[in-house]
Symmetry: C2
Subunit: 381 residues, 2 copies
């Protein structure tokens, strides 16, 4: 049994108001190619299919197209669970009418876990899809008393443990936050204050756990308790991550072999830093100048329309930071006795705060002359 | 071949801010019972499945439940097309994965008409689903030049006419406005100024045309070119309509037999009229007092919290009109020379405008005394 584990597609997401739909289409096409090349028996998507509970129509059309290629054209079964970004009822509409096609979309939680048995030449396996749910929902649907994400998950996993798989390996699919997991800037916390954390040990006894939610690929506790990570960098904090899908091979006794299959984005997401002139000069020969960029300008002088100038070379600059003009935090405190100083002294203080270095003799001389001429002009009025 | 033709479910619609979801669930359950009782071979829904392109989640869940009962539990194929209220991409998500279950949802227009062949013991038929589309969309998708709804429909129907049905009857499913059709207050016009009108004759050569859009059941041109009408009264203008679904029986040569199967709403939509005291007295013994009501009060005097009083007897009064206090239009014109009149004369004019009859001698006397005492009170200040 060989399958691709992926998650956090977030179809319809924007990065700094830039639609990523073309980028998502590009990388989803790669996943389809990888599924074909590796002749997988299934594709598992562990939640956050869409970025919003009400996705835009073109996001719906893209997912429709991808699933059609996977399920109808390649004949590969697909299992998708709802994540915390998805609208559970909307995502799972008419899902019972899709089952015979091999498409399994699991939205709202049902009161009994319904495993999906997938078959392959190299052995069968049971997949237990657990859509993202609030603890209160677990309490309501299963009519039990749970107060935390961990208790809720433990209750759900009891059903998985107790289910008789007739010796077949058990694969759990879940969208949650495992204690100790590395976060990125692009995840929406499941709850405030750490109450969303779940001990990885809960999943120890299953052959593989396909997780979604965290956007960096990683495992927790055991190598077979794993986040595939998102398919794209959805924040600049992820600039150094390598996005991939996870190829999982299960043998008949549930031993697992894992390989990361890298994804190549249409445009990378990265941060560049330096003075404007240098960046513009470098950019002309940068084959990756179409990347989505955050630019940190170290110039200390004011620049008219820095964004416009940068975009003549780097068309997809999404965010600009003027690090050269930023005040160092420790110098920011304004002391009230500054008010009593003269104008020149106040200005030299201000200059050193925002520029990070004191005014030169020459600059001070220039400023003194400027103030003097301003005063004279005032006197004439 | 026997099928139910229905349309304009508008799931998720509200009537004067009142959710109709329970009413829709009630009447959709009747349709399922009718399908069972009449052992139909198919259910056809001719558009406006939902009321909005982004339906609320509980509307999605209701449709999901209804389709599951029809398609999975009863094994009856269902064909749904998008109407002008539906979001085409959203409605048709993963529809290719539903086909093998017998569920056919047609959202966006495709460049070639794709008939659906349904079989039955009493003969087969071909169904040609034409989702609602703007003329510009037809022009774009079919790469042709059409400027009106009628031209667009003629172009689409050419494909139907030319398609070789191998002698089987052709059933067209469409959501449009046929010239001469009777409108209700609850339809959203397809275009402004009558440019949406289509000659019924375009459909003459097909065995049956299952239409959606107009909310009153009716046929145009030929009895087999028919609107089933909506499943509920969606405005008070429909109070005298009898809602139904259409049972269509096609024989092997395409001769058609039509029967209207009435629907009974959970709560009727109607208008009652009279004086408050009488209505309250009548209501106590009204077995239909839970109906959705527009009340026209003929009382000529002011009534404190008329809505509150009515709702003690009729809990679902949705709209109140004070016909007794309404000015007759022809009396509404205010002439500027009224300003020059005295207060009493102005008030008698005002009274006759809003009450529809002149003040009595006694009323005028009372008003004169009141004005007099007001003036005296002013003088004392």
């Amino acid at each position: 049994m060989k399958f691709i584990h992926t998650s956090d597609w977030h179809i319809g997401r924007q990065l700094h108001n830039q639609s990523l739909l073309d980028d998502q289409r590009h990388v989803l096409a790669q996943i389809i190619e990888l599924a074909k090349a590796h002749q997988v028996d299934a594709i598992v998507v562990a939640g956050d299919i869409y970025d919003r509970s009400v996705p835009p129509a073109n996001a719906v059309a893209l997912l429709d197209d991808v699933l059609n290629q996977v399920v109808n054209e390649l004949g590969i079964p697909a299992i998708l669970i709802a994540g915390n970004h998805d609208g559970h009822e909307r995502l799972a509409f008419a899902s019972r009418q899709m089952l015979s096609s091999g498409l399994h979309i699991i939205g709202p939680l049902s009161d009994t876990v319904r495993p999906i048995k997938l078959t392959s030449a190299s052995g069968d396996a049971l997949f237990y899809p657990l859509p993202y749910v609030e603890p209160a929902t677990v309490g309501h649907v299963l009519d039990c008393d749970v107060s935390s994400h961990e208790e809720a998950m433990a209750t759900l996993l009891e059903q998985v443990t107790e289910h008789d798989s007739q010796g077949l390996p058990k694969v759990v699919i879940s969208h949650c936050f495992l204690d100790g997991g590395s976060e990125s800037d692009s995840e929406r916390p499941l709850s405030i204050g750490g109450a969303d954390k779940i001990a990885p040990q809960l999943f120890n006894d299953f052959s593989y756990t396909a997780l979604g939610h965290l956007h960096g690929p990683q495992y927790k506790g055991q190598p077979y308790i794993r986040y595939s990570g998102s398919i794209l960098k959805y924040s600049f904090s992820e600039q150094h991550q390598h996005k991939s899908v996870t190829l999982v091979e299960l043998d008949e006794v549930g031993e697992v072999n894992i390989e990361l299959l890298p994804l190549t984005p249409l445009r990378d997401v990265r941060i560049i830093e330096g003075e404007l002139a240098q960046l513009l000069a470098d950019g002309v020969n940068d084959p990756q100048r179409d990347d989505y960029l955050m630019v940190r300008l170290s110039d200390k002088s004011a620049i008219l329309d820095a964004m416009g100038k940068l975009r003549t070379v780097y068309p997809n600059v999404l965010h600009l930071e003027r690090t050269g003009l930023m005040a160092q935090t420790e110098q920011l405190a304004i002391r009230s006795d500054h008010i009593k100083k003269g104008e020149l002294a106040m200005f030299t203080d201000f200059f050193s705060q925002v520029a990070g270095e004191p005014m030169s003799e020459e600059q001070q001389q220039l400023m003194a002359e400027l103030l003097d001429s301003l005063h004279k002009a005032e006197d004439c009025q």
